[in-house]
């Protein structure tokens, strides 16, 4: 009994926190299902965006022991590329080639993914690989890369904050429930998020590369000694992680636009998610993303009209501190991973 409880503590803590958040939100909405639903959808939406950054961060850390501080910059680049491709002017102007904005958006997303993947390969092969024996320096170096990427973005797109102009069908449509207008696009992003959460879980559970990744999290050297080219797996995982982050930026752009701040904002929140979930634990990252997303949305709702407008921005950090104090290795983290 004691062991089952011990084993399930993270899940119980998580359920308790999410239930607490939802209950608070429901009371905060005065029992209005429409209001409550809007908050929950907004929370899930933000949680999914966080997951797109945090999942790569978490798997890369687990497998390669690298906390890549450049990951937020990939999200930012994704947003810029998607914005650029979708809108007239800019580096790539596809408004003539693909006049339909509904068709242009998927192309913009693909462009974001490709750019993210390309920059990912460059970072892993060129800069990270020579530093595998010096983890602290990797931390510092990826931070430098993040600075450089922000500067490159400034050089190409200037320091202007772009807000999304070119509205397309999915973004414009709403459905009505409990007397409230719900955004179809947000629902769509949440759906994609869930598909990815389950898809990545299946890859990790069922495929050979998944087995290699999980084994590599335990003991890289032994995986290599079994005849598997671990460095190649590193490159693949790192590249995919960057591609997913850039995809996240692209898919968020219609809501958040494109700006320099995205890099730091999402990096800090995603790092908070990864750490509070337990570093290297995929379940922890998925659960943590949803938890933090919901917490932010609930805080945003609660802060309206009060003096605590700071609350939503510090919510991820508050949650992180709270959970680290309760469980020093994060929710799903094992004690030995440090």
């Amino acid at each position: 009994m004691a062991t089952t409880l011990g084993k399930n503590t993270p899940i119980l803590v998580m359920i308790a926190i999410i239930t607490g958040l939802l209950t608070f939100s429901f009371i905060n909405s005065n029992g209005d299902f429409g209001d409550f639903g809007i908050t929950v959808l907004s929370g899930l939406f933000q949680g999914m965006l966080l997951f797109l950054v945090a999942s790569g961060l978490s798997i890369i850390f687990g497998l390669m022991d690298v906390l890549t501080l450049a990951h937020g910059a990939y999200f930012m680049i994704g947003a810029y590329v998607a914005y650029d491709v979708q809108h007239p002017g800019g580096v790539i102007d596809l408004t003539a080639a693909i006049p339909d904005p509904n068709l242009r958006f998927p192309v913009a997303l693909i462009a974001a993914i490709l750019v993210g993947a390309g920059l990912g390969v460059i970072l892993e092969r060129g800069l990270l690989r020579p530093l595998y024996s010096r983890p602290i320096f990797q931390l510092v170096m990826t931070f430098g890369v993040s600075l450089v990427m922000v500067e490159i973005v400034k050089a190409i797109w200037d320091t202007t904050i772009y807000s999304w102009q070119d509205r397309f069908g999915l973004q414009e449509s709403f459905f009505e429930l409990f007397g409230q207008q719900f955004s179809v696009y947000r629902l769509f992003v949440v759906g994609i998020g869930f598909v990815l959460i389950i898809g990545i879980a299946l890859i990790l559970r069922r495929t050979r590369i998944g087995i290699i990744i999980r084994a590599g999290v335990e003991d890289r050297q032994m995986v290599e000694a079994l005849g598997i080219n671990v460095q190649l797996v590193f490159t693949v995982v790192f590249t995919l992680g960057c591609a997913v982050a850039a995809f996240g930026g692209g898919i968020a752009a219609p809501f958040l636009g494109a700006s320099n701040n995205l890099a730091t904002d999402f990096l800090l929140q995603a790092v908070a998610v990864v750490v509070l979930g337990g570093m290297g634990s995929y379940e922890g990252t998925a659960a943590g993303s949803i938890m933090v997303g919901l917490a932010i949305a609930v805080a945003q709702k609660a802060a309206i009209g009060t003096a605590f407008t700071v609350l939503p921005s510090i919510t991820p950090m508050l949650l992180l501190i709270l959970i680290l104090l309760l469980r020093p290795s994060g929710l799903f983290g094992s004690a030995h991973s440090s």
């Binding site: 087995i211 290699i212 999980r214 335990e218 003991d219 050297q221 032994m222 995986v223 079994l226 005849g227």
Partner: protein, 235 residues
């Protein structure tokens, strides 16, 4: 005697600034079980790791079936047909027994072809096939670590201290299994348990202070109590 499967020629290996191997020569003939003996810290484990490329030697040569393998990456060395069973049975505890074995596949269906052989050798593997390997007992984990190198076609097996921390009954079982393996592959073994080593191996190499001192055939070593006393400190 046929040409050696593995030949280690005067290798030097550093770990950090420490000069661990200072000239090790080992020759492992085809079909033999060769055991490396020596005190703790003599460099036995490092020799195996150097062969695998995990701690690459800075000097000297390592030949596998006549071809140099030093300087190659570990995965490449393994793919040539060398199986490595590390000390402390480094199995993947969160993976199931089946996943541990699948990981060792080098070609599709490797496991399918060998699974019956493995189940025959270690019946416990069948019983716990779908359970996390961390749930296995110490002896079963050691069996899994050995079973793992049986999945692909390995012509040379490097086995590091299989008996470490195991009960005598289980050691007997492991010995029988290793003897069975030696029918099809060559084995280079590191073993502290002299009784087990003397019964299993047909050849020996003694390492001391990072150097190989003596090598020969096992029956001669068993007779030479002076030598045993000098390097191994056991009677």
């Amino acid at each position: 005697m046929s040409a050696p499967v593995l030949e280690i020629r005067n290798i030097h290996t550093f770990i950090g600034q420490f000069h661990i191997l200072e000239g090790v020569n080992v020759s492992v003939p085809q079909g033999s079980i060769t055991v490396m003996l020596g005190r703790n810290g003599a460099g036995k484990t490092t020799t195996l790791k150097s062969v695998m490329g995990l701690t690459p030697p800075s000097q000297g040569a390592i030949l596998f079936e006549g071809k140099p393998i030093h300087g190659k990456r570990p995965y490449h060395i393994a793919q040539l047909g060398i199986g490595y069973v590390p000390e402390h049975r480094a199995i993947f505890k969160t993976l199931t027994v089946r996943e541990n074995l699948e990981l060792a596949e080098r070609q599709a269906h490797d496991l399918e072809k060998r699974i019956d052989f493995i189940f025959n050798l270690f019946p416990a593997m069948r019983q716990f096939y779908h359970y996390p390997a961390g749930n296995l007992s110490g002896g079963q984990q050691q069996m899994l670590a050995i079973a793992r190198v049986l999945v692909p076609e390995n012509r040379l097996l490097l086995i590091d201290e299989p008996s470490e921390g195991l009960a005598p009954v289980i050691i007997e079982e492991l010995m029988a299994a290793i003897q069975k393996l030696a029918e099809t592959s060559t084995v280079l073994l590191v073993e502290q348990n002299f009784r087990m080593a003397s019964r299993l191996a047909d050849r020996y190499v003694i390492l001391d202070d990072g150097q190989s001192r003596v090598e020969g055939v096992m029956p001669e070593l068993i007779k030479d109590e002076q030598l045993i006393q000098r390097y191994l400190g056991v009677a």
